[in-house]
């Protein structure tokens, strides 16, 4: 049992969470902007195919992009208006993908919605169909289409549903505000997912730095008859990462290259549960989300309910503008995507828009590794990032693959603690891209 001694505690880092900037700000709804740019690549998998043409009038909630393939999701018009353009635009990660520009007409007129209040008596397949129809994807970051997750192969038995309210990324408070302000919707969404999967056990995981969110969720969970509980997790980045959370909560370890369903678990973000609630009970597709607009350069940090497709520029304007921002990030500071400009637009997975002043951001220097081992102590995947980054710096991809670079979850803990300021995550991404290309070609 000696090795257990060294693996018992989950590994990770404790970055300054900076959530106080926006945690106390109630969610405000952004007025309709003058233009909305809805990307067709807002989820993991194949981008949706635009099904509207330039000049066409659309209604709020109307499907404007159709899922193309099994792992894909529909995209809907966030408001009523006119399609101004259908063209390629850079996605938040860089490479271009089709996008539909919609000029709102101000009416905000809904398309016909089909509510389903009697979900408890509805067969699971019909509910999954509704969730797929609403274009619900994992809103925690990865954007995996939810309806795909809800149809596990029959040989996989799922016994536990985890609703992820950890929000371990520093700065972000979107999920926190949602849990405080709308716990009932989250809980109903969770019940729907549990009903679809036939799961008896539901766990709501929240980090212990959010006691009021824990209390709010516990208040609604109390009325549930089955085995449901709110679990307080130790505050440790990345406890919100799916596999790390499953281990912290259930003591089960998802095998390398596997999925949570391989260990009988399913993890859904709180915002996703909320979207499932809307999709089933009101028939509303996923066309808006809560975005935390924060960072010291933001004049008035806020939690904003914004339409999908809202330009970051409009968000920044709503929050008093930016002053002295050196870096703009879609998402949190640990895993978010740095943006070249304010031209990006809100997607289903964009939980935050973060601006950093130059003295706050990392400057990578790629100094030689001094072998301090801090990255090893921090790596939640149990890798040796120091060694991997040396291999990858020398472009020895074979060696990196042999050292399990594919098990890297790109959480950024290694780069966060590295005194030599090495761009570890970028190295890992290159290694993973190479290894993925190799396994495809085999």
């Amino acid at each position: 049992m000696v090795p257990r001694l060294f693996h018992a505690r989950p590994r990770g880092v404790h970055p300054d969470d900076r959530k106080a900037l926006s945690a106390a700000m109630p969610v405000e709804t952004l007025p309709l902007p003058s233009i909305l740019r809805v990307s067709m690549a807002q989820h993991l998998g194949a981008p949706a195919t635009p099904v509207v043409k330039k000049g066409e009038a659309v209604r709020r909630g109307q499907r404007i992009g159709a899922a193309s393939g099994f792992i894909s999701a529909h995209v809907h018009a966030p408001t009523s208006g006119t399609v101004k353009a259908v063209q390629d635009a850079p996605t938040l990660s860089g490479p271009p993908a089709p996008a539909v520009d919609i000029e709102p007409d101000g009416e905000d007129a809904w398309t016909d919605l089909q509510p389903c209040p009697a979900w408890r008596n509805t067969p699971a397949a019909a509910l999954v169909e509704r969730i797929a129809e609403a274009g619900v994807v994992g809103m925690g970051g990865a954007g995996f289409p939810t309806h795909v997750k809800l149809q596990p192969p029959p040989e996989k038995h799922i016994d536990t549903l985890i609703i992820n309210g950890a929000e371990c990324e520093p700065y972000l408070t979107a999920d926190y505000r949602l849990m405080l302000e709308d716990p009932q919707r989250i809980w109903t969404g969770a019940c729907i997912i549990a009903h679809v999967l036939g799961v008896e056990r539901v766990r709501i995981a929240i980090e212990d730095n959010k006691p009021d969110a824990i209390a709010a969720m516990a208040g609604v969970v109390r009325e549930f008859k089955g085995d449901a509980a709110v679990v307080s997790l130790e505050t440790l980045y990345p406890q919100g990462a799916e596999k790390q959370q499953i281990r912290a909560l259930l003591g089960r370890e998802v095998p390398s290259g596997g999925l949570p369903m391989d260990v009988g678990a399913l993890v859904e973000n709180v915002a996703t549960a909320c979207a499932v609630h809307d999709a089933v009970l009101t028939g509303q597709p996923l066309i808006e989300r809560i975005v935390t607009v924060t960072g010291t350069p933001v004049q008035r940090p806020k939690n904003v309910r914004a339409r999908i497709g809202t330009c970051f520029n409009d968000l920044a304007g709503f929050c008093g503008g930016l002053k002295g921002a050196a870096k703009l990030i879609a998402g949190g500071p640990m895993m978010g995507l740095a943006q070249p400009s304010l031209d990006g637009a809100v997607t289903k997975t964009a939980s935050g828009v973060l601006a950093l002043a130059s003295e706050e951001c990392t400057a990578f220097e790629s100094l030689p590794c001094i072998g301090c081992g801090r990255c090893i102590a921090a790596c939640p995947a149990g890798l040796v990032p120091a060694e991997l980054s040396l291999y990858l710096e020398a472009e020895d991809y074979e060696a990196a693959a042999a050292c399990h670079v594919m098990d890297c979850i790109e959480c950024g803990c290694c780069a966060y603690v590295c005194p030599a300021r090495r761009p570890m995550v970028q190295h890992m991404r290159r290694g993973k891209a190479w290894a993925a290309a190799r396994s495809r070609s085999r």
Binding site: G94, T362, Q426, R430, A433
Partner: protein
Amino acid sequence: MVIGGAGLVCGAALAFAARFLAVHEDPRIEKVLDILPGANCGGCAYAGCADYARAIVVDNAPINLCAPGGQEVIDRLAAFLGVASQTRERNVAIVLCGGDDEHAGRKFDYNGIADCAAAHAVAGGDKQCVFGCLGYGTCARVCPVGAIEITPQRIARVHPDVCIGCGACVDACPRHLIRLVPAERRIHVLCSSKDKGPRVKEVCTVGCIGCTRCTRLAENEAIRMDGALAVVDYSKDLESEAVIEKCPTRCIVKR
């Protein structure tokens, strides 16, 4: 004494091994290897000069694959092996982008691994022009003879007199800007942008704006249009320097 004795015994054993376990190879392979320049550039698509030498002798591989050796090596190989000499055009690499930092803008300050492929993967690269040379020197690092320079204005430039035409840089460039062209072709359109003229003008002052003037000036259609981009047809002679002077953005140069 003991150590000396052990050394003697081991030495004798090694000498025996060398004599009796030696791999008997065609002696011509070594001679061919001597003729080859020994750059080990891999331009012939074999794993180094020794591998190519073996292929020539054992598998009758063509003798005109060695880029660094040029015509002289082909002639010597032909004489040694007693086969007809073949000809080989000397090819050199050219980076088809002229938009350095003086002429083409950057859209953000990139901070990460100093490598073009890595930079290209972060928000699509920091150059405003999505086709242009990023200038992080991936091509220069793979060049076996150091023929590629990254200028102070951060663009890759091949020195044709040093280039051996091995093509390693062609595969290394993530934006596919490098081509191998016959060495005697000196006139190039230094642009690879498929964008239309107005967009090119926005991001670069030396990009091809697709005005088609050069295609009319060039003799026997040596410059053709590929969409909004003028492309030199390197299989045809192009001597007229009028195209250089008449290009409104000066993206046609002689090198």
